[in-house]
């Protein structure tokens, strides 16, 4: 009998798997209400108390839907903290990491030109080579001018200065909590004011944080917040105020419209010029829009669809990612933002706060009543 146990355990294993194939949970969903998103999230964050957790577990144990939601949550969870075995060289050369980071920071520092100077993209790219490779995610920053309507399907962001990007990329590679927290601290601090002294201090903070981050790179933690903050580290300098953008500014900041696929993006330059990148901003191709006024905003709900707006009721649309068509707009008023959900549906906001919507690709616009 004893030697049959492994076989029988294997049979049980196969039966359980077969049981699962017939119907997840194999029982109807329990009569009590399923876990709501708030409870699921609290569960995932370990914020449920013992009683609530037991109740949630009891429900989920017999509820196929909640099990599936938990599984989805598990699959979308940020990567667990890396606990890799330290390489052989780590103990002996650990001191090299902060030193290298500090050297890199000094290098970046030394190439920062005077405030009113300009550095070519090529020069900056060379400096960026000293940092880890860029990630294929937008490096958002803040629009200097207030934006009344931010598209839900695309971020409208001015391009962060390259040096700032380099730091952000280094931080992204390090994925250190320290960096994230510093970035968030910067973000909130910048919400308060944008004094130049503050900028300089924050800049130094960022550099020292980068060094610290390298020092703890092997113990970095990939959390949502860490990744998010790291991705937005470049946003911190420019956050709602502009001073940091001035600090690192190598020219007028251009507005970047990132599509639903970050690889595809447009940037608005002066004088109605538009450029598109299909490789996440590595290379840009100039496109003809037919307008000479500087555009003010845009929205790209899909990689090939983009809407742009500008002064004088300018509404431009591309549905193939290459050619632009000016759509009629009922008033020659400055349009400051647009929010599009596809190539047919969009809502623009005028400078005076009114909104107009279209559902036929911009041919007809109707006023959206103010809430």
């Amino acid at each position: 009998m004893t030697n049959q146990k492994p076989d029988r355990d294997a049979a049980i294993d196969r039966l359980l798997a077969g049981r699962a194939t017939r119907s997840p949970g194999d029982t109807p969903d329990p009569a009590d209400a399923c876990l709501d998103a708030d409870t699921l999230a609290a569960w995932a964050d370990g914020a449920l108390d013992a009683g609530a957790l037991a109740t949630a577990e009891a429900h989920a144990a017999d509820c196929a839907r909640c099990q599936a939601m938990l599984a989805a949550m598990a699959r979308t969870a940020p990567l667990a903290p890396a606990r890799a075995v330290a390489p052989w060289w780590k103990p002996a050369f650990r001191w090299l990491v902060p030193l290298t980071a500090a050297a890199a920071a000094v290098l970046v520092w030394t190439i920062v030109p005077p405030r009113d100077g300009r550095v070519t993209v090529h020069q900056v790219s060379e400096s960026a080579d000293a940092t880890p490779p860029p990630v294929a995610t937008p490096s958002p920053s803040r629009e200097p001018a207030p934006v009344a309507g931010v598209p839900p399907t695309s971020a409208v962001t001015p391009t962060p200065p390259r040096e700032t990007q380099s730091l952000a990329q280094a931080k992204e590679a390090d994925l250190s909590k320290q960096v994230s927290e510093t970035a968030k601290a910067d973000l909130s601090r910048r919400s308060a004011d944008g004094a130049k002294a503050e900028d300089a201090k924050a800049e130094n903070d960022k550099k020292s944080s980068a060094a610290d981050a390298n020092a703890v790179a092997d113990a970095s933690t990939r959390t949502d917040r860490a990744r998010t903050a790291a991705e937005n580290a470049a946003a911190a300098p420019a956050a709602p105020a502009q001073p940091m953008a001035r600090t690192f500014s190598f020219g007028a900041p251009e507005t970047v419209i990132v599509s639903s696929n970050p690889a595809s993006r447009w940037r608005i330059l002066q004088g109605g010029q538009v450029q598109r990148s299909a490789d996440g901003g590595a290379t840009w191709q100039t496109q003809t829009t037919g307008v000479s006024d500087t555009l003010s905003g845009g929205s790209s709900p899909t990689p090939s669809v983009c809407w742009l707006v500008g002064p004088g009721g300018i509404v431009l649309r591309t549905t193939d990612g290459r050619s632009w068509t000016r759509m009629p707009f009922p008033e020659a008023v400055p349009l400051i933002s647009i929010r599009a959900t596809d190539d047919q549906t969009a809502t623009v906001t005028t400078e005076d706060g009114r909104q107009f919507a279209t559902e036929d690709g911009g041919r007809r616009w109707t006023r959206v009543p103010n809430p």
Binding site: D13, L16, G18, T27, D38, A61, A68, G149
Partner: protein, 240 residues
């Protein structure tokens, strides 16, 4: 409330109140979170539309008011997205029979079961499978909720040991041990039920297990039981 969640809650309140700067900050900070989650759910990009729709709802329907700050905003967004993703999948499966109907079909099919692989039908095999199945169901029902949930995560949802452990706050080695323990407990309970309740002898119990084990390939209960086979057939090695 966790202090870090309070900041998220404040941001959500500001977004719900129509604060454009807050919304802008939200978009910048959380849009990558949503898209990463969508891509994790469906690497082919099929869940991105859900993420976009969620954005639209957050903006236009003030979905933020449902966020109560019991978790981080990022986790809450993942939860809402997961919920919508699962519901969409379930909606596409609405034609599946109800469990009660399914059981009825199971019984009928088992009674008339003839394995397509066996040229000579074994009249006892279907009965053995049914007895084993009934005993298994009863044994699983008696498990505590955590054990059932662990089984569900691993077998029904196909999660790895690590993912299962993440839900149950257990190390994956613990999950592995607990699954092994549960399987042994189920096996013991099944043997007892077959012996005590079904009145089978040890030899007959062995035949019951053999009905499952003797199958050369992976057991195809779907085919045996006449239910659609669109999911896994046997427990894969998911120790990684």
């Amino acid at each position: 409330m966790n202090a870090s969640y309070a900041a998220d809650l404040e941001l959500a309140h500001q977004c719900a109140a129509g604060d454009e700067q807050a919304w802008e900050r939200f978009v910048l900070e959380y849009r990558p979170v949503l898209y990463r989650a969508a891509d994790a759910l469906d690497p082919s990009g099929g869940a991105r539309d859900l993420a976009d729709a969620l954005y639209a709802d957050l903006y236009s329907k003030s979905l933020f008011r449902y966020f109560q700050g019991r978790s981080s905003l990022a986790t809450w967004l993942r939860a809402v997205l997961s919920q919508r993703y699962v519901d969409r999948i379930r909606a596409n499966r609405q034609l599946e029979p109800l469990p009660d109907e399914e059981r009825a079909i199971d019984r009928a099919d088992i009674r008339h079961y003839e394995s397509p692989r066996d040229p000579i039908p074994d009249p006892d095999r279907g009965r053995h499978l049914r007895l084993l199945q009934d005993a298994l169901e009863a044994a699983v029902t008696t498990l505590n909720a955590k054990d059932r949930l662990r089984l569900g995560c691993y077998y029904a949802q196909g999660l790895t040991l690590a993912e299962t452990g993440r839900i149950l706050r257990e190390h994956e080695a613990t999950v592995s041990r607990q699954l092994a323990r549960t399987r042994q407990a189920i096996r013991g309970d099944v043997e007892r039920r077959l012996r005590d309740e079904s009145g089978l002898s040890d030899a007959q119990i062995s035949e019951c297990f053999a009905a499952v084990s003797e199958d050369a390939g992976p057991i195809d209960l779907d085919r045996m039981l006449g239910t659609p086979s669109d999911r896994k057939e046997t427990a894969p090695d998911r120790s990684r």
